[in-house]
């Protein structure tokens, strides 16, 4: 359990990855691996990305060859802020309770 990543929800990881600017699939894969230590599979990544686009949380930019960058929408940024806020409260509470 100790080696498992703290956050493993692919949708949340992609929202975090896109928070500092547009990225295409391969860049998101590398970014998520770097900041969360999670190696998303290509199917998992595009499954989550297509849901986020379907729900209006990310939007596609013009394709660059076979690659297409995506960026957060306003709704996606609000969703991310809400989810990070919830996680942050949970982390603070947990830290207080363990006395750290």
């Amino acid at each position: 359990m100790g080696s498992r990543p703290e956050v493993s929800d692919p949708g949340l990881l992609l929202l975090i990855s896109l928070a500092d600017g547009p990225k295409h699939g391969h860049a998101m894969l590398l970014d998520v691996a770097a900041f969360a230590g999670v190696r998303l599979g290509p199917g998992t990544l595009y499954g989550a990305l297509s849901r986020l686009e379907e729900d209006g949380h990310v939007e596609a930019l013009p394709a660059e060859g076979r690659r297409r960058p995506y960026r957060l929408t306003g709704a996606g940024r609000r969703l991310l802020e809400g989810r990070l806020g919830g996680l942050s409260r949970a982390v603070r509470t947990g830290l207080q309770r363990v006395g750290a």
């Binding site: 894969l29 499954g47 297509s50 394709a63 076979r66």
Partner: protein, 194 residues
């Protein structure tokens, strides 16, 4: 099997509309790193989840859910119809040449064929059954049955289209079926003939 070919096979796990939108990007991502069994399993499982997601949207959200793969593969179904029809087409054509137009060379050949067929009545049955089956195969892709949700209620949806290849094969099948029925009625029921 090379990676691009395996990638194409893996992409078949996804619904066609999803593939049309994201297929190139996903293929690029798959081919950017070694295609290990873990990656293949991840892509296939995500494709199946996407198919389930689309089916759920269709049932809950009002998208049209089509029934029948024939709609998506009209040429393949037309070819199946043509292949089914070919033996009957050749047999009826040769019979017309031999017995209606009196081409002696063909008549000799037909007589040896029909005497050989006398011991194989199943061949007769297959030759007669082929045109209706070919008709169905050729025309099935021209009709689409679907289920749509409107105002909370499920409704049947029917769509019809025309395709020259399928219609032509369907008409030839109908014509051959007509010739066979005429032949059976005139020569077997009315007992008229040579």
């Amino acid at each position: 099997m090379n990676a691009p070919r395996l990638t194409r096979i893996l992409l078949r796990c996804y619904p066609s509309t999803w593939r049309a939108r994201y297929g190139l990007e996903l293929a690029d991502l798959i081919e950017a790193s070694p295609l290990t069994p873990r990656v293949a399993l991840d892509v296939a499982a995500a494709g199946i989840r996407q198919r389930l997601h689309v089916a759920q949207l269709a049932i809950n959200g009002g998208l049209v859910m089509t029934i029948g793969p024939a709609w998506r593969h009209p040429t393949a179904f037309a070819m199946v119809g043509a292949i089914l029809l070919l033996p009957t087409f050749l047999f009826v054509g040769a019979s017309l040449l031999a017995y209606e137009l009196g081409v002696d060379a063909v008549r000799g050949m037909m007589e040896s064929v029909t005497s050989a067929m006398a011991n194989w009545r199943i061949v007769d049955l297959l030759l007669v059954a082929a045109p209706p089956l070919a008709f169905l195969a050729a025309l099935a892709p021209l009709v689409r049955l679907g289920v749509d949700r409107r105002d909370g209620a499920l409704e049947g949806v029917i769509a019809v289209r025309a395709r020259l290849l399928n219609v032509t094969i369907g008409l030839v099948a109908l014509l051959l079926a007509g010739v066979l029925v005429w032949h059976i009625v005139v020569e077997s029921v009315l007992q008229v003939g040579p």
